[in-house]
């Protein structure tokens, strides 16, 4: 393969692109990645037939999405053409779908939070499928140094959609992103979210996946300064026939960085399939990395399938903490026993424990309206099998 990480096309500005053991094929060149067959490690859990060509480009017919934004005045929100020099500087596509999406989008949304600005109200970016067919997008969110923002990125409607989202969190900045995949039941989405976390910067992500037929999202974090902190919280409720796949990659390529990954899911209904792949790399020569990743799956009915794979690769002995855990199973009968031993009837005890499972994570989102909306949607899905 031709030197995948250097000198790639005109989109790659600057040479400080990530190089890691698990992610060595970054390129803007679509043909740098062979068309997936489904046998590759990174594709073996994904039903390629249901991707409607997002991975090979052969079905590219003109679908469309509508992008709506709402932001307080201190935040700049722009719609720019694909040749805008700011785009594509913080990442290299890590697979064919990402490279295809980058080659295919026409307009991008750029959100800039000026330096040292503490944004009072959340910024909303809503992407809605409006015309059938393939659609591509690109979003760049730039939190300049020592700024602080919360961004809600919402996907809805019906589409076959692929995009790349860049989060650039500059030194000392804080960026919280709630990414809500609330598609109509027939939608297909394959997305990559690339976060670049600066010195003493904090990036917090809430990945909430409820809708769609197939949703595959690859959030990645790479650090460019010491003291960087990333928390990735995920919640998915995978119903009958749905495929929800989350593949996180945390690249601790700088010393004294911290990461927490906690994804929780629930599955109910025939052929509900959830996949979680959690890759963590602790790079050679780094010190003081603190990392933990955790995936839990609550299996509510028969006929579901979970694939949960934590991967931890450590290339240094100077680690402060590194751990992973994965557990999938039915409702804990000891939880139920405790509530029932206080007189609470079985059905109500089940309801309380299941809601508690979701509420524990949803409760961390600091936007009450959004919390309520997500809980309502969870209720709707629960009602289907209770």
């Amino acid at each position: 393969m031709a030197s995948p990480n250097i000198g790639v096309k005109e989109h790659s500005h600057g040479g400080d692109v990530p190089i890691s053991r698990l992610d060595t094929h970054g390129s803007f060149d679509v043909d740098a990645f062979p068309v997936p067959s489904g046998r590759e490690e990174e594709w073996r859990f994904t039903p390629l037939r249901r991707m409607r060509g997002l991975h090979d480009g052969r079905d590219a017919v003109g679908g469309a999405v509508k992008v709506e934004t709402r932001a307080p005045e201190e935040v700049a929100v722009e719609t720019v053409a694909r040749d805008d020099a700011r785009l594509g500087t913080s990442f290299l596509p890590s697979d064919r779908v990402s490279a295809l999406a980058y080659s295919a989008f026409t307009e991008a949304t750029v959100v800039t939070v000026p330096k040292e600005v503490q944004v009072s109200e959340p910024v909303y970016v809503k992407i809605t499928g409006v015309e059938e067919g393939d659609a591509y997008g690109h979003v760049l969110v730039r939190a300049e140094s020592h700024s602080s923002t919360t961004l809600v990125l919402e996907y809805g409607g019906s589409s076959t959609y692929s995009d790349n989202v860049e989060f650039v969190v500059e030194d000392g900045a804080q960026l919280t992103v709630i990414s809500l995949q609330d598609w109509d039941r027939d939608a297909v989405q394959v997305s990559h979210q690339y976060a670049k976390v600066g010195r003493d910067a904090r990036f917090k992500s809430f990945m909430i996946t409820l809708g769609g037929d197939l949703v595959r999202i690859s959030p990645s974090v790479r650090y460019v300064g010491r003291g960087g902190d990333a928390e990735l919280h995920g919640l998915y409720f995978t119903g009958e026939g749905q495929h929800h796949e989350h593949r996180s990659l945390i690249d601790h390529n700088v010393s004294n960085t911290r990461s927490r990954v906690e994804y929780k899911g629930a599955l109910s209904g025939e052929d509900a399939h959830a996949v979680w792949i959690g890759d963590v790399i602790i790079g050679e020569g780094t010190q003081g990395t603190d990392s933990y990743e955790h995936n839990r799956n609550l299996v509510l009915t028969d006929g579901t399938r979970v694939d949960s794979v934590p991967n931890l690769e450590i290339f240094t002995g100077e680690v402060e903490g590194a751990g992973h855990a994965s557990a999938s199973g039915r409702l804990d009968d000891i939880h139920l026993f405790y509530l029932q031993s206080r007189g609470i009837p079985t059905d109500e005890a089940r309801r309380l424990v299941i809601r508690g499972y979701f509420a524990e994570l949803i409760g961390r989102i600091e936007l009450p309206d959004l919390r309520e909306r997500i809980m309502d949607e969870v209720e709707e899905k629960l009602a289907l099998h209770e």
Binding site: L339, Q340, S341, F358
Partner: protein, 253 residues
């Protein structure tokens, strides 16, 4: 006036899908309202199994004998029915239930046991004053059930539930273990309040006689080898304190 009877109770712990072990080997015990029975015994003698078997814990299975509350067959009741019939178990290791707030849990529980939802304002007053009596900070009400609580905080919350649910018979499984003297006093006062206010019959399971300085037992039973090996008055606890359980361990083995 409630009569609680355990007759010839035998029970297994379920270890795996195929594996089980008999722990209770014929337990006989009768507790009336207002009485406090201390059950003392060495580790592994089956004291906790007795507590769990009465409450209906899923990992234990009763194989023989009966449990009656005012003549009603407890073994035919589901776990929640037992609680509504007036049985309460303060657990040695209270369970953490993430995401379910303590206040929501307590309200659901009180509603179920009392048979009707208490008025919100009355209940929140009652909750606050009971928490205060146990020196529990009011912020605990909004936390997840036992979530991240220390051992002592969990025990206080068990007694909080005892006071709110006002059972007819309470089984307190090593409620004193892991408590420092101050916490032990607070918890004991809670138990004594429940005794005074509701005439509850208490089965106080403990390894040490220390708690009996604060909670007076009318009867003391030595539990060994999965059954009651000897019964007596409070003086038996003192004898155990000085002599230890050795003679019962040998006898049970």
């Amino acid at each position: 006036m409630t009569k609680f009877e355990i007759r010839g109770l035998r029970a297994d712990v379920l270890i795996g899908a195929e594996q089980r072990e008999e722990i209770l080997k014929g337990v006989d015990l009768t507790i009336d309202s207002g009485e406090t029975h201390a059950i003392m015994g060495p580790n592994g003698s089956g004291k906790s199994t007795l507590a769990y078997a009465v409450a209906g814990h899923p990992r234990y299975e009763v194989t023989d004998g009966e449990i009656l509350i005012d003549g009603e067959n407890v073994l035919e009741m589901s776990v929640d029915e037992r609680a509504r019939a007036g049985l309460f178990l303060a657990m040695q290791y209270p369970v953490e239930v993430p995401g379910v707030s303590m206040s929501n849990f307590l309200r659901s529980s009180v509603t179920a046991v009392r048979g009707e939802a208490p008025k919100l304002r009355t209940f929140s007053k009652e909750l606050q004053s009971t928490m205060k009596g146990l020196a529990i900070d009011s912020s605990f009400a909004s936390r997840g059930v036992n979530e991240g609580f220390s051992g002592g905080e969990k025990k206080r919350h068990e007694i909080l539930q005892l006071e709110l649910l006002k059972p007819k018979i309470a089984i307190l499984d090593e409620t004193d273990s892991g408590l420092d003297v101050d916490a032990l006093k607070v918890v004991s006062e809670g138990i004594n309040r429940a005794k005074t206010e509701t005439d509850v019959g208490v089965m106080l399971i403990t390894h040490y006689s220390r708690i009996l300085n604060y909670v007076k037992a009318d009867y003391v039973h030595v539990f060994a080898g999965g059954r009651v090996a000897e019964s007596g008055g409070p003086e038996l606890a003192n004898a155990l304190e000085s002599e230890g359980y050795e003679r019962f361990v040998k006898a049970g083995a």
